[in-house]
Symmetry: C2
DNA sequence: CGCCGAGTTGAACTGAATCAAGAAACGTGG
DNA sequence: CCACGTTTCTTGATTCAGTTCAACTCGGCG
């Protein structure tokens, strides 16, 4: 428990001990098996999850096609951001990609903590800012880079992802089909 | 001045009068002519701008091609987010699309206010969250929709944009060429 | 074993880009 | 108020990166 809060502080900035103590009262530990689905399309999901161990994936189902939108590994957050932050029905599913240990925080707790602790509000601002910057990079990657460049790019920033997630999910995350990804990885020459 | 702060509160949530008074000390008004460039690629830009009147545009120049990435109109913020929030050289240019009145806030002021006022920190969190949600929508728009659907979509959420910004900028924002946008707007049938 | 999901490979197809040329609209200065 | 150049937009013909459809391989696991 200490270790987890330490990780968060290391990753996102320090917290007062008051705040830390209060956070502990508001969170729940959950364990899931690989393949479990914790958020479904259409649902109002007012939970945000922090991956203690394992991995999760947010994806769209658009006319039957599974399109990955986000991956989270140890010490990262995941939620249906449209639902959690936008207060709308989730367009995403979220599933566990491996057996996982997860912390769940409800929006109610989240709002209470934000209101009460300046440093919690700051933490959230940092988390959201990081997501925003990641998305910015993703947008320019999709707009400016070829399929091959996008694959090389993800290899360079998340080399581990290839080991932990099936290629089909990576392909759809990169905005290409599995076939295209396969060709990009095994050029004819 | 009062009016501007009112607008901000209306758009993003209330501020204490302490905070408001302090904000006023930290901001600068600037006026620009249409076409003026206020941020250039490669520059470390540590300013964020709020459009009081007029309109601005952030864009990339990728091998000579001008690609719009963001538009801001009255009561909206604009900055090179990679530079302002990510502390990196800006990949963007920012230009004024019309004669404009703008408020400038430096990152130093920004950080001071965030540290000092819980409600300012909250304001920023809300601003950043809105950008994140917009980007999320943009990503799914690019991934799932055809050129025609993307155009119709922007028409539905920002009908005014067509009047205020040349089509070529809208085309590149939507991730298509000017020619394709033209065809989408004037179908043969 | 035999089956099933994951990945590879091939061939045909397609939405949008590119290249090219011209038409409209839009200042700006005489 | 008009002429002229510049920028904005349209239209057509061709090309191409990536999709789609389909068949096949491989590795694991009941």
């Amino acid at each position: 428990m200490e270790m987890i809060i330490n990780q968060i502080e290391k990753e996102y900035g320090p917290l007062s001990s008051d705040c830390k103590n209060e956070i502990i009262k508001h969170i729940h530990f959950l364990t899931f098996k690989k393949g479990e689905i914790i958020v479904r399309e259409g649902q109002y999901s007012d939970k945000i999850y922090f991956i203690v161990e394992g991995a999760a994936r947010a994806y769209y189902l658009v006319d039957g096609k599974d399109v990955s939108d986000y991956f989270a590994f140890e010490n990262e957050f995941i939620s249906s951001i449209i639902s959690f932050f936008g207060h709308q029905p989730s367009p995403h599913y979220i599933e566990l990609v491996q057996d996982s240990i997860v912390i769940e925080v409800s929006r109610k707790s989240f709002d209470t903590l934000s209101k009460r602790f300046h440093d919690f509000e700051h933490l959230i601002r940092i988390v959201v800012t990081k997501v925003m910057l990641q998305q910015q990079e993703r947008i320019s990657s999709i707009l400016f880079q070829s399929a091959e460049q996008r694959y090389k790019h993800i290899l360079s920033i998340r080399p581990d992802i290839i080991q932990r997630v099936p290629l089909k999910h990576i392909a759809s995350y990169l905005g290409m089909t599995l076939e295209t990804l396969s060709r990009v990885r095994n050029p004819k020459t």
